[in-house]
Symmetry: C2
Subunit: 207 residues, 2 copies
C-alpha cells in the first residue's frame, strides 16, 4: 500500500481542521456513521496489541445529568483557583458541550489486561493509558473526516466517574467525549482565539 502526496495532503487538512469542539447542534448522528466511528477505534495502535480501552455510550438521562453535575462541580473548583482577570477569563470560556452533544462516551482503560501478556509495558505501564489516548485520537480524526466534532472533557474527578458508571475494579477513567455536528468549524484552537493560551511550536532538539 503506497500513499500519494494527495493522500498526505488530505490527512494534513483533517489534522488542521480537527478541533476540541464544545459547541454542538442537537441533531442526532446517523447510526451508520456511529458504527463506522466505533470500528475506527479498533485501528488504533496499542501496547502488546492489548487494546485496553473500554467505551460506554451514555444515553440514559440520569447518567448524563450526573456527568453534567460532576463537571459543574469540578469546573467551579477550577475557576476558584484563578484570581482577578484570569478568573473572569476562565468563566467566560465554554469548556464542554455536555448540554447539547447527541453522542456522549465515557472512556476507561483496563489497567492490567490479559491481552498482550504484558508485552511492552513492564517498564512503562503508562503505555496502556497512551494506547487509550491514541484510540481517542483515532476516533477524533475519523469523526472530523465525517464532518463531526469531538470534545474531550477532563474537568471531572476520575474516582467519581468510576462511581457514576459503576465500572469494574481496574478500570481507570480516561476521558468523557462529546460528539456531534459542530456549530462552526475552525482551523485555530478556541483557547488561542480566546487569548487564554496562544499556539506554540516545538522544534526538535538535535543531539
Amino acid at each position: 500500500m503506497d500513499f500519494t502526496p494527495a493522500d498526505a495532503a488530505t490527512l494534513h487538512r483533517i489534522l488542521t481542521w480537527r478541533r476540541d469542539v464544545r459547541h454542538f447542534r442537537r441533531d442526532a448522528i446517523d447510526p451508520e456513521t456511529i458504527a463506522r466511528l466505533e470500528a475506527a477505534m479498533d485501528l488504533a495502535p496499542s501496547v502488546g496489541n492489548a487494546r485496553p480501552w473500554r467505551v460506554i455510550r451514555v444515553e440514559a438521562t440520569d447518567l448524563r445529568a450526573q456527568v453534567r453535575a460532576e463537571f459543574a462541580r469540578c469546573n467551579a473548583q477550577a475557576a476558584d483557583r484563578y484570581a482577578d482577570a484570569q478568573h473572569d477569563a476562565y468563566l467566560r470560556l465554554k469548556l464542554a458541550g455536555l448540554d447539547a452533544a447527541p453522542l456522549q462516551l465515557a472512556v476507561f482503560t483496563v489497567t492490567d489486561p490479559d491481552e498482550g501478556h504484558r508485552l511492552g509495558r513492564m517498564t512503562m505501564p503508562s503505555t496502556l493509558a497512551d494506547s487509550t489516548a491514541m484510540a481517542i485520537h483515532t476516533l477524533w480524526l475519523a469523526a472530523r473526516a465525517e464532518n463531526l466534532g469531538t470534545g474531550m472533557v477532563s474537568i471531572l474527578d476520575p474516582a467519581v466517574m468510576a462511581q457514576i458508571f459503576a465500572v469494574p475494579p481496574g478500570w481507570a477513567f480516561a476521558a468523557y467525549l462529546c460528539l456531534g455536528h459542530p456549530e462552526f468549524t475552525d482551523d485555530t484552537p478556541l483557547l488561542h482565539r480566546a487569548g487564554w493560551q496562544e499556539n506554540t511550536t516545538h522544534r526538535w532538539d538535535l543531539r
Copy 2:
C-alpha cells in the same frame, strides 16, 4: 471546511496500514519530509493548548548506543518473566528497529508546563501524557501517509532514559521512536501475525 466520503476513506486507509514497524531500511529520510513530520506534531490536540511534548532527535552514535544497550537490558529482563514456550516466543519477536532506523526520536512530557495555565488538567494531570501520546500518534499517521514506518519503543526504563539525555527536572520520558522506510507494509499487526496477541474488537457498551 467540509470533508467528502473520499477523504474519510483516505483516512481509513492510512489508519488501516499504519503499523508499529520494527523492520527498517537504512536509507535516510529526506530533510523536507522530516520538516513536514516535525510540523505535523504541532497539529495534535493538547490539554489547555499546552503542547507539553518535547522531542530530541538523536543522531549521536554514543547516544544511540546507550539506548540500544538500555533496550537490550530491559528486553532481557522482560523475557525472563515468561516461562517455557512463551519465553521462546518472546525471544523470537523483533520488538524494536533501533539497529537500522535512520531517524530516532526521544520524546518527553513536561509535567507542569506554564502553557495552558493548568486549564483542563487540575483533576486529571494525566491529560498531559495523553497529549504527548496524541502528538506521537499524529506523527505516526503523518509518517505513514509519507510511506514511512514508525515504531514506538517502550521496553526502556524511563529514569535511565532521562539520565541518558540529561533532561531538565520535570520532563517525563514518554517513548523512543524509530522512523524510516519500512522493509514491508502490512494491514495486520505483527503480534497478531506472530500469534502473540490476536486482534480484538470492542463494541461500545450502551447505557
